[in-house]
Subunit: 573 residues, 2 copies
């Protein structure tokens, strides 16, 4: 056993000990040669749960899902070369959606760089501004100084990933052959570094002044971004105390643990019909805008002389897309909402909030009257899926049409389940793997993914994770054979041939064969009842399966136009 | 029709005109919204052939393949967000293997950046040091100045991609809505910019001095990197004139148009057995090292006092992995080789070259005597594939085991076909799509991909291109259910459970189902004869098909050890 091997082993063990003390418990490993020592040492460590995935793009998104649900930093490990570049899409998403990842790439040592050695490329700063921190690690040594250094980098980078704004960090490890670690018998001294972080908060006095100025005013709360149910609940409590409507989108989980009437669903379907009646005096926005485009257009046309807008900027990144915030509050949301609830004088129900409640209920009634929504199509399937989620279930919603259908059409029934999505940059590139990451953390509950055919195709490789680890994910596939969202956008004006070729992009895949390839159960449902009964079963018997709903891009548009017309009639008529 | 739309249309048309004048003829487009105007204008342009692929990772590697074979810069176009990050693996490979790509990403305009707008991320310098040039384009205007600017950027970046060292360039286009271009009736003035580039060459006098100093010496030529057949041929002509052995690897195409005995095959199998007999006085290395690890070890042990090493550094990047070059020549290879042939005095055959020829022939004889190579296994299948390539055929060889089998075992029979691979960074992430890019340029000839199961899985999505465009690629799949190369590396010392989990990584996919999913013909061959006859058919009837050879990782190692022992006996005995 060479001394080099001992040095490398001790050095990497120190690093891993630091990672663990920062809170790391999970690692996703893609096989490779240069990464061998880290792969083996992570895998042999009892405190780390490891997963193996050959395709680094899928591995990256799977780690993203693990991290979203477990709320812990997750390690990614791969070998040198283009392998690392495959992590890039998941890293960009993690940066934008504040998900802590610790990305470990392994590299040729310095003497083999920029000399044409095989599988070597410049990995320094590989992920540019898309990571919070990049560290080029020293070559392994086991002097006390270097063991301290390695431990320190482990705990520091694991912690950096978790600090607000959370996000990915990248460490590049130059490693020399021999790459097999020594079976280390030495147990490292258990380091006692402890991390105590404070919060970024306003004084009670500041909050009192703000909330007092809101008293008796017509206000609206708008919540963007992803939220854990307990955070979401406190937003709703604030709305109740203020008696203001509260608007979000599916990822906010506002309805997860409440049935408050003040939570507005269907906002995209009705806000444009009540423009003249819905002029608030106060708008309080938390984070990014929710999904609805009509909501954005409504906000944009508000007159700043009539409406005062507060923008809560938790991350200090000024992510106010509308540049509308007149008062910008930089403080941690969770703490601020608690303080606001504490100091807000109790408002009584007033015509303002009753109007909003009535508008929303009118929409719900309209939706229940439209006959097409009682037969099977992509929109009605999304409604039924929402109804058939178990109270403790987890739903991952793909981007593009899937999340818009849920946002516009899901009624406020039977909430309680937890919703996830990739809304940092809204890609369709890693949805399957991220959903499987979600499923891996709580495989015992109902886990469902709602996804279109293009997004499923884009990350089909991710299905190998479900096959290998028996993750019981139910995939509800809205298959309209192509890019359904473009039928709702201006591109639909193009002539059909050009539209189909460049935007419709039918892929003509038989998804029963995809299911067979990856060992998933498969069913093509023919009615809403069939879909409902299959989903009910998954509440108690989770299973890896694809439930296909055959849709039609044109029909979706026609149905949506019909819905809009009925709502206009009801709210304006 | 808004004025903004006219301005955008004219601006982008100018840019495209510049691209075309730089030599661009092909574009690979991934659907998206922000990229709509460029997608439509490229597609509507009669001088540009467009391909559509939903998965940007596959699209990137497909463009790489198109560019490798057509020797033209190829455009990649996608929408904003993580879509662009999916190009990263192909871009890294293109940078390292000198393939010209023009990557166009579309972006939110400045007022929607860093404000939390959907599908927006920082795309500036997105690909870092992995592209030759990054340009953040101006927002579209149609003043004469800006039309000139757009044209100029088109011709400049298209040209930059093609200049030595060739490689990828990246342009980011901020675009505002409305995104539909105006049907432009105006034909742009045909610009007359013409590009005349000089070459980086030595004077005849310099070359004469060099080549004269080689006279009567024992020399070896070593050629790395990818070469077109005409370049390869001139390397062999130089070897013939000098009567020196010439060593490369399959991607050099040295045997494509010659049957010179001086071209050494099987180098990895015998160079370590003739150490004491093979001490050259001159080593002339062109570019990167060839594939063989034993060749590298042989070069490393040469004594610089006995052996003088020339390193031809065409790109000026100092990519001399062994840092062994005593004389570094920075000049364009093609021109230099011509000059060397011109001025080299004719050498006569000598014991030196005869020895090398004899060693190689001894190996060929040994291989023909080993009975296992007459029955079906991964190694013998690679040999037969080489024999059954049509003279005008194209073979793409995957990384990992596939290229090593061809390098070690392919005899010098029936050469003449053209070999491609991704040896810039040696990834297994985009092999299928790159091979399809190769096939797309010359679909009428025999097109074959030799690939293992892990690499095929990694880029399975690429198969959709073959389905959509009916590319008649024959895929010879060496399926040993996992990472076969690790059985040849030190990792095989690990206990079996750990080895299989972290390195063997069986994926257990039934590739007949993969074939069915993508509409490929499929056959599992049971004998070498079956394989040979199927390959013979493809010489005349190209077809999209998967021919599966079931292999065994352990058997490969045992057979290789047997071969090595026989060769040792023959050469040393």
């Amino acid at each position: 056993m060479s001394d080099k091997q001992s040095a490398m082993t001790d050095y990497l063990q120190s690093f891993i000990a630091g990672l663990i003390n920062s809170g790391v418990q999970k690692a996703v490993i893609s096989p490779g040669s240069r990464s061998t020592p880290l792969a083996l040492l992570l895998h042999r460590n009892e405190k780390i749960q490891t997963y193996i995935e050959v395709d680094e793009r899928s591995a990256g998104f799977f780690a993203l899902g693990l991290s979203k649900v477990s709320q812990q930093p997750v390690v990614l490990l791969c070998t040198s070369g283009t392998a690392a570049a495959n992590y890039y899409p998941a890293i960009c998403e993690a940066k934008a959606s504040y998900v802590p990842l610790v990305v470990l790439t392994t590299d040729r040592p310095h003497e083999l760089r920029q000399v044409g050695a095989p599988q070597a490329m410049d990995q320094l700063q590989l992920f540019q501004q898309q990571v919070k921190l990049f560290v080029e690690m020293a070559l392994p040594e086991n002097t006390p100084q270097l063991l301290d250094y390695a431990y320190w980098q482990g705990i520091k980078t694991g912690n950096t990933a978790q600090q607000t704004p959370k996000g990915p960090v990248h460490l590049n490890f130059p490693l020399r052959e021999p790459l097999l670690p020594k079976q280390s018998e030495v147990s490292l001294p258990s380091r006692l570094t402890e991390i105590i972080s404070g919060e970024n908060q306003l004084t009670d006095q500041q909050v009192k002044e703000i909330v007092t100025s809101w008293h008796g005013k017509r206000g609206v709360l708008i919540v963007g971004g992803e939220h854990q149910p307990e955070e979401a609940t406190s937003f709703v409590q604030l709305a109740e105390k203020l008696q203001w409507p509260i608007i979000g989108d599916p990822l906010d989980n506002l309805t997860a643990e409440t049935d408050s009437l003040l939570v507005m669903n269907h906002i995209d379907l009705f806000i444009d019909k009540v423009l003249e009646k819905a002029t608030p005096e106060i708008v309080v926005r938390f984070g990014k805008l929710p999904l609805s485009k009509n909501l954005m257009l409504w906000l944009q046309q508000l007159d700043p002389k009539e409406t005062r807008t507060y923008f809560i900027d938790e991350t200090g990144e000024w992510l106010d897309q509308l540049k509308q915030g007149q008062i910008i509050i930089q403080a941690e949301e969770k703490q601020l909402v608690k303080q606001l609830i504490n100091f807000a004088p109790k408002h009584l129900p007033a015509k303002w909030s009753e109007d909003w409640i009535n508008w929303q209920q009118a929409v719900e009634m309209t939706l229940s009257e439209i006959t097409e929504l009682a037969s099977l199509n992509e929109i009605s399937a999304s409604r039924v899926l929402h109804q058939k989620m178990a109270k403790n279930g987890q739903l991952f919603i793909s981007n593009s049409n899937a999340i818009r259908f849920i946002d516009r059409y899901a009624d406020k029934v039977n909430a309680g389940y937890r919703v996830y999505g990739n809304r940092g940059i809204n890609g369709i590139d890693g949805i399957v793997s991220t959903a499987l990451g979600m499923c891996a953390v709580q495989p015992e509950v109902q886990n469902v993914l709602l996804i279109g055919d293009l997004a499923l195709y884009h990350d089909m490789n991710g299905l190998l994770l479900a096959k290998r680890y028996h993750f019981p994910l139910t995939i509800v596939l809205l298959n309209n054979n192509g890019g359904g969202i473009f039928s709702f956008l201006s591109q639909r004006q193009l002539d059909e041939e050009e539209f189909e070729l460049l935007f419709g992009t039918p892929i003509d895949l038989d998804f029963s064969q995809v299911a067979e390839l990856y060992g998933a159960a498969y069913a093509k449902v023919e009615s809403l009842e069939q879909l409902a009964s299959r989903l009910e079963i998954t509440q108690k018997q989770p299973q890896f399966q694809i439930i296909e709903v055959v849709g039609n891009r044109q029909e979706n548009v026609i149905l949506q136009e019909k819905v809009q017309a009925s709502i206009t009639k009801k709210l304006r008529g």
